[in-house]
Amino acid sequence: MFENLSDKLDRAFKVLKGQGTITEINVAETMKEIRKALLDADVNYKTAKAFTDDVRQKALGDNVLTTISPGQLLTKIMNDELTALMGGTTAEITFPATPTIILIAGLNGAGKTTFSGKLANFLKTQKNKKPLLVADDIYRPAAITQLQVLGEQIGIPVYANLESKDPVAIALEGIAHAKANGNNVVIIDTAGRLAIDEAMMVEIEKVKSAVNPHEILFVVDAMTGQDAVNTAKVFNDRLDFTGAVLTKLDGDTRGGAALSIKSVVNKPIKFIGTGEKMEALDVFHPERMASRILGMGDVVSLVERA
């Protein structure tokens, strides 16, 4: 839809230039176009507003309008700003203890169980770890079987207790099991829960305080719309998570939720999910996400060509 944002902006600026004087009002018109593109990419309403205000300042400062291709330069400015906003560099998982405990949390259907499998596989194959998966979702029908099937696919043990209805106890049992069996990472898959479901939020707080995780990853569907900020904020307020994971980026969503999450809770996005298979996991690259949100291929080369 917005493959050619920079073309559009160029056109908008041509009209402006024709008007002679360059005023703040002219730029404001163009910013409307940009704001619409951001909102269509599901960037949070307030974030989009703040962002376009910043870019406007910067554009006026850099005398964007006096260049030959103002649209392209402006697009580059935006791309840089977005990249910076999303963290600039890649944030990695650390292993401060043995076993390192990683708690996975998020809304229903976001991709937690799939990600748990992918992460275990990643740590085993890329980081030479011996992970244990813990099936801590006692609610969803066949949630435990789902994790067990994935564990089997990737050759990772799964701790489950089909008799128990107590996620805190199961998590603790899982950690004890890991210690007894020489697993140096424990990944705890939890049930999907709504941020406003008080009982379920209290439950995961209890799991957290019982197991003292070194890493808490908030898994979020990249297709999420304006609600992403509310959800990320509540999960962060309750759990103080250490990073986010964006799933289903193999789709064609612009993924503006990434920007919203980063700007609201200021936690790094650590991984992205790019498919249903256990190998479909990547570390997060802010600059690629920025181009995606703006809806263009390689901005830098675009600008260089100009």
């Binding site: 269509d40 599901d42 066949a142």
Partner: protein, 297 residues
Amino acid sequence: EKTKDNFFSKITKVIAGKSTVDDDVLDDLEEVLVTSDVGVTTTLKIIERIQARVARDKYVSTSELNTLLRDEIQNLLAENNSNDFNSFEYGNQKPYVIMVVGVNGVGKTTTIGKLAHQLKQAGNKVVLGAADTFRAAAVDQIQLWGERVGVRVVAQAMGSDPASVAYDTLRSAVSNGDDVAIIDTAGRLHNKVGLMNELTKIKNVMEKVIPGAPHEILLVLDASTGQNAIEQCKQFTEATNVNALALTKLDGTAKGGVVIGISDQFKIPVKYIGVGEGMNDLQLFDRKGFVNSLFNK
């Protein structure tokens, strides 16, 4: 319900202390609509209609804004959401075949479990087809739902051809004299051409058992999805002629506003809404109710 209160209080804030609908009010209104995922295009459409009304009627008090908005949004949902769906009973076709499609994790299987429960409660004999043979434990999941609500499930081994499962299910439904057959499918992203073709094939195979089947192709949308839902609707409709929508997870804080634009653009009715994970948490979509719930306490 917290979500709706939230929306209402925002609207109230918008109009508080103002006696006419001026540009400020419309700007604030834009924020309310956009943050409910209504999308810029549809929001502008609604606002333009309101501006037109304001221009025509010269003076519109803010107390009228609420009614105006309700009218305009209902109009967007209007033509295609008749009052046909006022019970969980179906008409003439027997078995009535429902095929359920959608992207990953939106709530297809859960919606099927809940729908089976409702249909059974309404006195129907229901059979489910486990045609998601791909996702880990998908067959187990739907079988557990079948047990939970007491309906039959036709399944094959994981990894088998989903079209073959759909075929088997309809054959079984016919010979068993079932009233309704519901076919689950694996979640798939709409930009995956191969998977979308597979869906067309699953659909086409049903026609061979029962002419006219599937009678209902239900696209499940997650209420928290943003503007991507529009593309989902477009692509799934191209692959399978979607003729009904279900909107899930409305018990959360997401508003599901994207269906307003979808309903307007594609003329596909929203038929069901999901409001929880339990078997009773499915409701028939009620246009008036949906719009009112956005604005009412």
